[in-house]
Amino acid sequence: MKKKGFLALMVVAMVVFLAGCGGSSKEEGGESSVLNAGAGESATELSYWTFVELHGQHFEKMLEKWNAANPDRQIKLNVTVMPYDDMHNKLSIAVQTGVGAPDIADIELGKFPDFLAGTPQLEPLNDVAEPFKGTVVQSQLDLYSKEGNIYGLSTHVGATVAFYNTEILEQAGVDYKTIVTWDDFKKAGMQVYEKTGKYMGTADTSAIWQESLLLAQQGADLTDEAGNPKVNSPELVKALTMLKDLQDNNVISTIAGGQPDTEEAYGEYNSGNYAAAFMPLWQMSRYTNYMADLQGKIAIAPLPVFEKGMPRSYGGGGTGTVVTKTAKDVQLAKDFIAYAKLSLDANIEIWNTLGFDPINMSVWDMKDVTHNPENQFVKYFVNNPFDVLNEIKDEIQLIKSTSASPTINNVLCTVTLNEIFEDGKDVQKALDDAQAQIEQELK
């Protein structure tokens, strides 16, 4: 009898041990929370994955409004926030295998082409986006489209602007309003370095915001008409040669973290080691959240250009909200995200909560919304961002996102920019090598 008991115990122990192994792999699932937002018993529960915690807060606000307005189609939203890479990797596997994908998800622009490869496993959103055509910027709808089908709903325009630390500039006797061209910027930067020993800006090694904006100014792109990579174009050589010259003159310098939108760089900026950043408008929320010491010191201005008259901005970055093919209630999910991202209310909330430049441009003219003195972004910055946005409104260019984009981005950000700014490799040579590498990888 004793022996039998022992045997049973062993079997149980093994089962428990094995079950234990199976369970532990789930622990890194990110943070989940269910938003009820006034939903009743009969509400449908939808799951939503994002990599930006703030996006969840925006959805919570919109969900309350939705549930109040649609008592018969109420929703409970199960929000899971995961780190950027983690979320995209998990989503790609889930979509690929058809198991475990959420109903709704955020996909970042840089990763979007991967999800559009072949036959997209996402629901086309044309029918729900149709009513909002004309009120929102068309190019933002096109950005997440393939062959006429819209698969993702954009969050913001991401107009790239210059952020200047006025305190440092005043010490150096520079007025940022007089900076129009890159030559002006160089002169100002040399003055800043001479007077304060601080760098005017960054030479980014882990992001291509600067390359993109310099290409956009020249009407060029990282890919040709057919979407094939062309990173050794004369325009990009000109752009990087200019940046390299700025670096050689101590106007810009590489930064810890490799670009302004990293934890290390927030610290560098917050301690006042760099005076300027050229970033899409959403960088504002990084200032308010991570660089509290700079409150009241940061001014927003249009970007410098090569020659006066060139377009002074481009739409950088972005997030497309998608509905997966495996969603529980596809129509409900589609209707909800259209409401939460494209409606006028949604666009106003996107500015209020997230500090993004909404894709419904009529919001840009609503003085009571954009100049609300209670708004945290209005309070933080020296001037009102919408004054700048409205000035450059018609100059916002776009860099195409194609199936080659993730590879281009990866090669430039891991290898090429480091070679140029850290090792001093010749620009033309570095870009030729990059072109060859990208072509090899895309083969």
Partner: protein
């Protein structure tokens, strides 16, 4: 009937090893065969896989980044072998010495890093080796008048950080293996050697080292495998799988980049098969040289 079956002397051993065999078949043999098949396919998101013959392998042979990853993994493996075998052995002998002061304290403090999560350790090492003046290592160097170093942006300095992390983490574990090996050496041998007038160094080279051989072979085998399969340390140290100029990219990191980040699972499977071949060749050669396959006397 069932009772007879359960009490059967012949069946019982199989019942006991069954869980292992099942786990081995389901989680090892099946994925291995399946990825071997996949390495001859082009697999894209949400679509039927296509057979492409040896295309993945021919592409791999002209892929400079893959060779960079192989070189990184190889160098990392060799460096960890050079550090993580002699030093733990030395520390184990010291700690095993009866005259050593604070033995339990050293034993536990050496082992402690193995208990921390790689994620936490990697993050802390990333901050320690940060390029700012205020990071720990740079402020220490500053005391000696050395300019701040961009550790994680250079090949050599990046590897210093990586190997420092590995040494810190695994020193204690390897030391414990050697300690348990030392416990199995009877004191009589040392006493006899003392009577014959052997010095401490002679005792170490003539008694300790030969008798530790089985332990050393075991540690060597798992270290080779662990070195070649390293991934998380690099990922955490560089806060992602894309280190500048791929200085921290390992073979598994490249597999992850191709398979998970770029959805190119067929190509990633080919990378995995090549990694398996490399590991098998090195491990089997090493085991053959150390006499593992000789018949027991």
């Amino acid at each position: 009937m069932f009772k007879n079956f359960l009490y059967s002397q012949k069946v019982a051993p199989y019942v006991f090893v069954l869980p292992f065999v099942l786990v081995f078949l389901i989680f090892w043999v099946y994925p291995l065969l399946s990825s071997f098949g996949m390495s001859f396919q082009k697999v894209t998101l949400g679509q039927e896989a296509q057979w492409v013959g040896i295309d993945n392998y021919t592409k791999l042979m002209s892929d400079t980044i893959f060779f960079k990853a192989v070189r990184n993994s190889g160098v990392y493996m060799i460096l960890t072998l050079l550090i993580l075998i002699p030093f733990p052995m030395l520390f184990a002998v010291l700690i095993n010495n009866k005259f050593m002061w604070g033995r339990e304290f050293f034993k536990s403090s050496f082992f402690f890093p193995a208990l921390t999560s790689v994620v936490v350790a990697g993050t802390i090492f990333r901050l320690m080796f940060g390029e700012m003046e205020g990071s720990l290592i740079n402020s220490l160097l500053g005391v000696f008048g050395v300019e701040p170093v961009k550790f994680l942006k250079g090949q050599v300095t990046g590897f210093i950080a990586l190997v420092a992390l590995a040494s810190w983490r695994w020193m204690g574990v390897n030391m414990l293996y050697f300690l348990s090996g030392l416990k199995n050496i009877p004191d009589d041998y040392y006493e006899a050697a003392s009577i014959d007038g052997a010095s401490a160094f002679q005792k170490f080279t003539r008694i300790t080292m030969p008798l530790l051989k089985p332990t050393t072979i075991y540690v060597l085998t798992i270290s080779i495998y662990a070195g070649l399969a390293m991934f998380i340390e690099s990922m955490m140290l560089w806060n992602g799988n894309n280190s500048p100029k791929n200085i921290g990219l390992t073979i598994v990191g490249y597999l992850y980049r191709q398979g998970i980040e770029k959805n190119n699972l067929g190509y990633a499977a080919a990378v995995g098969i090549v990694l398996l071949l490399i590991t098998m060749v090195i491990n089997l050669t090493q085991l053959a040289f150390s006499g593992m396959f000789k018949k027991e006397d």
